[in-house]
Symmetry: C2
Subunit: 351 residues, 2 copies
C-alpha cells in the first residue's frame, strides 16, 4: 500500500515520541512492502507560536489530503490556569476533531503481564483487564452553545445529541463488540438527563440487529465505581463525550501502563492515532519519554487500514522490548534504562 | 437540646439501617441529655406505591418543620431500565434536594485501618486517605432546561450556573478546608466549559479571603485519575453537580469501606444525612445489611448541630465494633458475623 500520513508532533514530548513511531512504522513498511510518505504539520502551542492558531488551515489541508494522521501530544504550561486566554491549544484539538469528523474515540485499556505491579490496583483486581471505550467525540456539551448572560454572572453550556449521532457511534460499538467479547455497555445518566434517555432508547432499538451482543446499561456513576472494582468485567463501553473524557482517563490509570496506552479517533473517512499521555512538558527534550504508546498508536493505524499482520508485528516487538528490559526510565524500576530514541531504534531494528 | 428529626427510611434496606441509626442516636441522646423526636415520612418507591409520588407534599412539610432529616436509601428495580417511566424514585430525590435547598453535598472518603485490605487499591496507595468532596447539589445540568426537538430526534440538557451558586458552595469549601488540612481543590473542565470558567474565576476571586488555604485547580479528567493513583494527596474538593456525582462515587470505592461511608446534604437551613450506599434491594428484609454508614450519618448530624462529643461517641463505638468483629457479613471475611439489628443493638448499648 501507498499511504500518506500527516504527522502532527505537537508540543512537549510530542516530537520525540513521534520520531520513534515514524522509525518503527518505516521498518514495518519496508518489511511488508508498503510505502509511507510523512507530511509534517503544525499543531498545538507550537502552531500558536508559529502562526497564531493551534490548528491552522494549512494543517487541516494536509490532514484532509492524507490517509491518516499520527498525532503526538499538545498542551503547554503557559496556557494552563488561564481559562480566559483567547487562543488555547485545546481549541485546536476540538476544531480538528470536528473538522475531520472524528466522532469515535477508541480507547483501549489492557494490561501487560510484566507491568501488573505498576497498577495502583491489587493484582487480582486488574489481571485480565482488556476493555475498550468508544467515546463520542464531536457532540454533546463540548460543542453545544455556551456563553454568559446577566452581565457575566450566569454561565451556560448546552448538551445536545441527535439520534443519528448516537447511532453512528453505537454502530461502531456493536461492530467492535462482535470482534471481541460480544459485550457492550452503554454508559449514561438516563435517570437524570434527556440526552442520556435518547442514548439509551437509541441503543435499545439497535439491539435486535446484533442478537449475539449482550448489552447492558449502566449509569455513569456506577461505571466510575466498577472500573476501579472489577475492570476486567468490561468488554466494550460506549458513551457520550464528557462522560468518555472522565471515564477513559480513569480507566487509563488502572492498568498501571498509562505510558503505553494508544488511542484512535475515527470518523467515516480519515483516522487519527495518538498516545493518550499528554505533552509532559517537564520531560520535553530530555530523551526520557516513553515512546511505546505512540508506537502502539501506529499499530492501531496499520490495523485500521486492515493491515493486521503489520499491527501485530509492532505489538510483538513492544512486548519483546518490555520482556527484555529495553525500556525508558519510567518502566525501569531503578534498573537499567534507555533513552527515547534508543528504545525507538531497538524497536525498529527488531521488527 | 430538643430536636425534631424527619425519618425518611425509603426503599430496600433503608428501613432496616435507619432503625439502627435511630437506636444509636437515642442512646447518644439519653447519655448526653438531649431529646429526640422522630417524625417518619414516606419517600422513594415506597411513597410512589402508597400515594403515587416519590416526595409527597406531606413528607416535605414534615421535613421543613424538622431540625434535620435522616434518610435511608431509595430506588427499586422495577423502575430501572425504564427511562421513560412517568414517575421515578430519583425524581423525588431531586425534588427534595431542591425544595429543601440542600445545595452542598458533603461526601467524606476515609479509611479504617482494619479495613484497608478491602480496598481494590494497594495498601500504600490508600493508606492515610482522608478527603471530603463538596458537591453542588441543586444546580447545573441536573436542573437546567431539558427536552426534545425535531420530533424527538434531538435531545438537549442545559447546564447553568450563577456566580452566587458557586460562591455559596465554595464558601463552605474554604471554611471546611480551614478546619482540616487547609487544601482546597476546585475540580472543573475550564478548558472546555463556560460554566467551569465561571467556577474557576469565582473561586480564584475568593482566594484572598482565605489566605491560609492552598487552592489548586484541576480538570475533572485529571482528578478521575489522581483519585485512583494518589487519593491521599487530597484534602477538600469542590465541584459542580454532575462531576460530583461521578467523582464521589469513584472515591467511595477506593477506601474499601463503601458500606461505611456517610454523607450530609446541607443548605442554609435544614440538613439531610444519609449513607452513600444504595437501597440494595437484594438484601432487603434479610437483616444482613451493614448499618454503619447510616449510623455514621447520624454522627454527622450531631456534629452539624455543633454536638461534637456526641458525634465522636458514635464514631468511637463504630471503631470499637470493627475492632471487636461486631460486624455484618460484608465485613466478616467469612468469619463470624451478626445481623443488622444485632449490630445496631450492640452499638447502642456500647455508647
Ligand atoms: C484537552 C481536552 C480538551 C481534551 C478533552 O477533554 O477532550 C482531553 O482531555 C482529551 O480527553 O483528549
Ligand atoms: C439517583 C440519582 C439521581 C442521584 C444523583 O445523580 O444525584 C445519585 O446518583 C446520587 O448521587 O445521589
Amino acid at each position: 500500500m501507498k499511504l500518506n500520513i500527516a504527522l502532527l508532533a505537537g508540543d512537549g514530548i510530542g516530537p520525540e515520541v513521534i520520531d520513534q513511531a515514524v522509525k518503527v512504522s518505516d521498518a514495518v513498511a519496508s518489511k511488508f512492502g508498503h510505502e509511507l510518505t510523512w507530511k509534517p504539520a503544525l499543531t498545538g502551542a507550537a502552531a500558536i507560536d508559529a502562526v497564531g492558531e493551534p490548528y491552522p488551515d494549512e494543517t487541516h489541508e494536509i490532514c484532509k489530503s492524507s490517509d491518516a494522521v499520527l498525532f503526538g501530544a499538545i498542551g503547554h504550561p503557559k496556557f494552563d490556569n488561564d481559562p480566559s486566554a483567547k487562543v488555547r491549544p485545546e481549541q485546536g484539538l476540538l476544531k480538528m476533531r470536528k473538522a475531520l469528523g472524528l466522532f469515535a474515540n477508541v480507547r483501549p485499556t489492557f494490561t501487560f503481564p510484566s507491568l501488573l505491579d505498576k497498577s495502583p490496583l491489587k493484582k487480582e483486581r486488574i489481571e485480565g483487564t482488556d476493555l475498550v471505550f468508544l467515546r463520542e467525540l464531536t457532540g454533546g456539551i463540548y460543542f453545544g452553545e455556551k456563553g454568559r448572560r446577566e452581565e457575566g454572572e450566569t454561565a451556560y453550556d448546552n448538551c445536545v445529541y441527535t439520534r443519528e449521532e448516537v447511532q453512528r457511534l453505537a454502530k461502531k460499538g456493536f461492530e467492535l463488540a462482535m470482534t471481541r467479547g460480544k459485550k457492550l455497555c452503554c454508559v449514561d445518566k438516563a435517570n437524570v438527563l434527556e440526552t442520556s434517555r435518547l442514548w439509551r432508547e437509541t441503543v435499545q432499538a439497535m439491539e435486535k440487529d446484533y442478537p449475539e451482543v449482550e448489552v447492558s446499561y449502566e449509569f455513569v456513576d456506577a461505571v466510575a465505581m466498577r472500573l476501579v472494582q472489577w475492570p476486567n468485567s468490561y468488554d466494550v463501553l460506549i458513551t457520550e463525550n464528557l462522560f468518555g473524557d472522565i471515564l477513559t482517563d480513569e480507566a487509563s490509570v488502572i492498568s498501571g501502563s498509562m505510558g503505553l496506552m494508544p488511542s484512535a479517533s475515527l470518523g467515516s473517512d480519515i483516522g487519527l492515532f495518538e498516545p493518550i499521555h499528554g505533552s509532559y512538558p517537564q520531560a520535553a527534550g530530555k530523551n526520557i519519554a516513553n515512546p511505546m504508546a505512540t508506537v502502539l498508536s501506529a499499530a492501531m493505524m496499520f490495523e485500521n487500514f486492515g493491515l493486521h499482520a503489520e499491527g501485530k508485528a509492532i505489538r510483538e516487538v513492544v512486548n519483546k522490548a518490555l520482556n527484555e528490559g529495553m525500556v525508558t526510565e519510567d518502566l525501569a524500576d531503578g534498573g537499567k534504562s534507555y533513552g527515547t530514541s534508543e528504545v525507538g531504534d531497538w524497536l525498529a531494528s527488531n521488527i
